[in-house]
């Protein structure tokens, strides 16, 4: 067992974890952040994407112990209460989700993408989210959502 101290969605957690525990499992089972989900076992789907110190990572490919001393933001911490982050607003407005299973990861990947590149082209968006699979939307409206979020955040005119 190893001791870790991780801030998740603004709250600091101290925990003892097995060294083999994946960050996604600790988030779901240790902290109850079940908004973050698992879609595969080969780091291909991106459903588990969260922000680690502000950058998106697949939380199934990070060990919980590697997050020690870090700040994690999940879909549940992106906005509080009835607030909506512009990316969340854009996904709703542009119908960027259907079943919603890929959505937590997709939204977090989009947040990171827009932080890095406030005004991405369609190609840059498609490239930027290529590690996040969605079976429902065909990505058309996800691309639109990211474009609209960029506009809401002032990056696109």
């Amino acid at each position: 067992m190893q001791h870790i101290n991780v801030t998740v969605d603004g709250t600091s957690y101290e925990a003892e974890v097995e060294p083999r525990t994946l960050l996604v499992h600790w988030l779901r089972e240790g902290v109850g952040k079940v908004g973050t989900v698992v879609g595969c076992d080969t780091s291909n789907c991106g459903a588990c994407t969260v922000l680690l110190d502000g950058r998106s990572v697949k939380s199934c490919s990070v060990l919980a112990v590697q997050a020690d001393g870090c700040e994690v933001t999940t879909i549940q911490g992106l906005s509080t209460g009835d607030d909506w982050h512009p990316v969340q607003t854009a996904f709703k407005e542009c119908h960027g989700l259907q079943c919603g299973y890929c959505t937590p990861g997709m939204v977090m990947a989009a947040v990171d993408l827009l932080n890095e590149n406030p005004s991405p082209s369609e190609e840059e968006i498609r490239d930027g989210i290529h590690g996040n699979l969605c079976r429902c939307t065909g990505y058309h409206n996800i691309v639109k959502s990211v474009q609209y979020a960029a506009e809401l955040m002032g990056g696109r005119k």
Binding site: V34, G35, V37, G39, T42, Q88, T103, R135, G138, H140
Partner: protein, 789 residues
């Protein structure tokens, strides 16, 4: 311009979805999120071999592991071992081998289940299955359907000679048609095996509920209602003691239209041990354990006159059943049998399908179920016939399709299409596509010998939706009906509970169903709560598959809402002191004819019916309306999809440059949702055309056993789509709707492949194997070069 249904209310508007707030904030209730105190975790011992006799199973190693509470093989499970049921024996002599939850004699595919372990936590259960010792005696595996049917081949089931499950025949007269024809073309297409690829892996939680006899089963399923019936039939648990809940479900695409052995095992063990049991699969487990789809070899013949009139079509299929029959395995290819004529007139149609057992994961319905295969075959054949005749492929289609003034039209396969307007959808698609410019560019590239050639792919398709008139299902030997139910209750507050038997998993039913009820009842969308997917709260239903939810379920909503108004009418008349016939109903209120000032809202009547202080004699308290609708007929959405495809002839790489989809799904409740369904369907069909394919080696080992090996397309693999709709309302469905869930997946696969072949036809290419990977395209080019040399 997209036309939308003229409606005073909210039908036809692109309302943003009610579902999204919670999904976008991670406030979700996936089955894997459900925690029940004291739950045991189940892990399954799956066969690493495709075909083997089980000599011995030793559970002792697993039982000695920390955290392990119980372990079973088929022998020790005894009477608790129940069968997965197939409800569609398609012929009187369909071979229906038993499909026990735990197999005891042999394993019949990689992933077949030999034993289970139950432990106090998931990791212990996972670790313990490695300690179960199974002694296998390997047997020859049959993987290829043609090999499986050859004499002397190993048998998957002793009862199925030549590994044949059934032979189904429909129609006839092809030989006569062919005798009269100027041209006969024959082609063999392989419609490869794919997975559903829902993003949420399957999960199950089964729990005995306190002191009662009730068992609750939460499952990531599309079919809680059907599941309740079949689980009861299989396990003997009385139906009334079973409550099935499908919580938030992350996609299905047919893959969760199933009764799975894991559901049986969790339920039986939870009941037996008196403790909750939980199972959730890994993605790699899903690749062997959830049913696959398609997997047909299609031999198609088309007979035509030299001016391009189709005289007859002959379809001979081999359909891979896999190792066992799941819920509708045998019937799935037959869902396509009426669709091989597509939108075309012909004199003769002849169909034969042979279901074949192999040592592979069972197949069953995946988005389109039989119809994508049929549409692929006819749309590919139309291009091949056009090439044979030296005719423009769109011109050939125009000469043969049913003209808009010829509806209703009974096809050679025996279905009566109620409406359609193929001319209108095609005209709109051609306009959006820019066909003339693209053909000009194609010509330029051909003439200059550009290494990147341009192809134009056409798919003018129809499908049958709205499963289904119960009598038709009965005639096809399907065990259940095709009706749908809705109950609408006015709550004392004037708010509305709409209880539906459909079971959404991404389709936005909560929003769309609210729109229908809001439109009829005049109650705001946000005051309508849609209740679904829980047999405890929504007891009657037939669930969601086959693009049926709106086509059938929508009619039930309309009828139930109409009944609410009729049931409220006498109370309104009593309050307004007039005769019931003298009342008009509009915008959520009754008013007296000729005196519109005298009116009362449904909301006010709801309270009056609740307090019941002053109801007319003979009128019962509370206002509700219930309806169960059996559809009059199938519905027939159609459309024209066009794809511009670039093929690099040196590398075989394919790029979808533009894609236009004009669909006619009849009236639309929410065009934003309709468009989303089209996008997702088109993407899935492109996935089959270009990227996806389940592959086994000759010994039956699964080569595509994870998402690293099985390519579900990413955003970088797909283009944006240009979509529009024409609107030809269905005349057999009370809302004029037709269904849209599968249209894109049915239409796009042949559009893409036709585009690739069109690009390469001058090089002599007439077909390319799916998925049309760079390797398969390059091989097709090399083969054509070789043949030409």
């Amino acid at each position: 311009m997209t036309e939308i249904l003229e409606s005073a209310g909210v039908i036809g508007r692109p309302l943003r979805r009610k579902e999204d707030a919670k999904l976008l904030h991670g406030r979700t209730n996936w089955t894997d999120n459900i925690q029940v105190p004291g739950a045991l975790h189940m892990a399954l011992v799956r066969s690493p071999m495709a075909h083997a006799r089980i000599k011995k199973v030793d559970l002792s190693g697993a039982l000695a592991m920390p955290g392990v509470v119980a372990a079973y093989d088929a022998a020790s499970l005894g009477d608790l071992n129940a069968n997965v049921l197939c409800v569609w024996p398609v012929t009187d002599d369909t071979v229906m081998p038993p499909f026990p939850a735990l197999t005891g004699d042999k394993v019949r595919h990689v992933g077949d289940v030999v034993a289970i372990v139950l432990a106090t936590d998931a990791k212990s259960a996972e670790d313990a299955i490695a300690a179960v010792d199974v002694d296998y005696e390997p047997l020859d595996a049959v993987v290829d359907m043609i090999d499986a049917m050859s004499p002397g081949s190993a048998l998957v089931h002793d009862a199925a000679a030549n590994n044949t499950c059934y032979v189904y025949n429909l129609g006839g007269g092809y030989a006569d048609a062919a005798a009269k024809a100027d041209v006969v073309i024959k082609r063999r297409f392989v419609n490869q095996r794919i997975v559903a690829g829902f993003m949420e892996p399957r999960a199950v939680v089964a729990a005995p509920m306190g002191m009662s006899d009730e068992m609750t089963l939460w499952s990531a399923t599309q079919i809680p209602h059907v599941l309740r019936v079949v689980l009861s039939l299989s396990t003997g648990i009385p139906e009334q003691n079973l409550r099935i809940v499908a919580p938030d479900v992350g996609g299905g695409f047919g893959g969760k239209l199933q009764m799975y052995r894991e559901e049986i095992l969790a339920l039986q063990l939870a009941r037996h041990l008196g403790r909750p049991v939980k199972w959730n699969e890994t993605r790699s487990e899903d690749m062997v354990a959830s049913h696959h789809g398609r997997d047909q070899i299609q031999d198609i013949e088309l007979a035509a006159t030299k001016d391009g009139r189709i005289l007859g079509m002959n379809v001979t299929l081999l359909a891979n059943m896999g190792a066992y029959l799941q819920i509708i395995t045998p019937g799935t290819p037959l869902l396509g049998m009426f669709m091989y004529c597509g939108i075309y007139k012909m004199d003769a149609y002849q169909f034969q399908c042979t279901g074949v057992f192999t040592n592979t994961t069972p197949t069953d319905a995946i988005r389109g179920a039989g119809r994508p295969e049929a549409t692929f075959a006819i749309e590919r054949m139309m291009d091949e016939l056009a090439a044979e005749l030296g005719m423009d492929p769109m011109e050939l289609r125009t000469r043969n399709w049913i003209q808009h003034h010829e509806f209703p039209f009974t096809t050679a396969a025996g279905l009566t299409y109620d409406t359609g307007n193929y001319e209108a959808a095609t005209a709109r698609a051609l306009e959006l596509f820019g066909m003339d410019e693209l053909r000009a560019e194609q010509k330029r590239r051909r003439e200059s010998g550009d290494p990147v050639q341009l192809g134009i792919g056409i798919s003018t398709f129809t499908e049958m939706c709205g499963l289904a008139p119960s009598r038709t299902l009965g005639a096809l030997k399907y065990a259940a009906g095709g009706w749908e139910h809705c109950t609408i209750r006015l709550l004392p507050s004037g708010k509305v509970e709409l209880v539906t038997g459909t079971s959404p998993h991404g389709q936005g039913h909560e929003t769309a169903w609210s729109q229908i009820a809001s439109d009829i009842l005049g109650i705001p969308v946000e005051d309508i709560d849609v209740i679904h997917s829980d047999t405890g709260r929504a007891p009657y239903g037939m669930d969601t598959y086959g693009s049926r939810s709106l086509a059938v379920g929508g009619q039930a909503i309309k009828k139930a809402a109409d009944r609410v108004i009729e049931n409220a009418r006498p109370i309104a008349a009593h309050q307004l002191e007039c005769a019931a016939e003298d009342l008009d109903f509009a915008n959520g209120a009754f008013s007296v004819k000729g005196d519109p000032e005298k009116s009362v809202t449904l909301g006010a009547l709801a309270w009056a019916a609740f307090s019941a202080h002053n109801l007319p004699d003979g009128i019962e308290p509370m206002i509700s309306g219930a309806a169960t609708v059996d559809p009059e007929d199938f519905s027939y959405p159609h459309g024209t999809h066009l794809a511009a495809i670039e093929v690099d002839t040196e590398t075989g790489k394919v790029r979808v440059r533009s894609y236009v989809a004009v669909d006619d799904v009849g009236n639309q409740i929410n065009p934003m949702i309709v468009e989303g369904q089209v996008h997702g369907g088109v993407a899935m069909g492109i996935g089959q055309a270009l990227y996806e394919g389940v592959e086994y080696d000759a010994d039956g080992n699964l080569l595509t056993a994870s998402l690293a090996d099985y390519l579900i397309p990413s955003a970088a693999d797909l283009p944006s789509f240009t979509t529009d709709r024409t609107v030809t309302p269905s005349t057999t469905h009370s809302l004029g709707t037709k269904g849209v869930g599968e249209a894109g997946a049915i239409a796009s696969t042949p559009a893409i492949i036709n585009g690739i072949v069109d690009a390469l036809r001058p090089m002599g290419v007439t077909d390319v194997l799916m998925p049309a990977s760079p390797q398969n395209v390059w091989r097709a080019i090399q083969a054509a070069k070789g043949a030409g040399a």
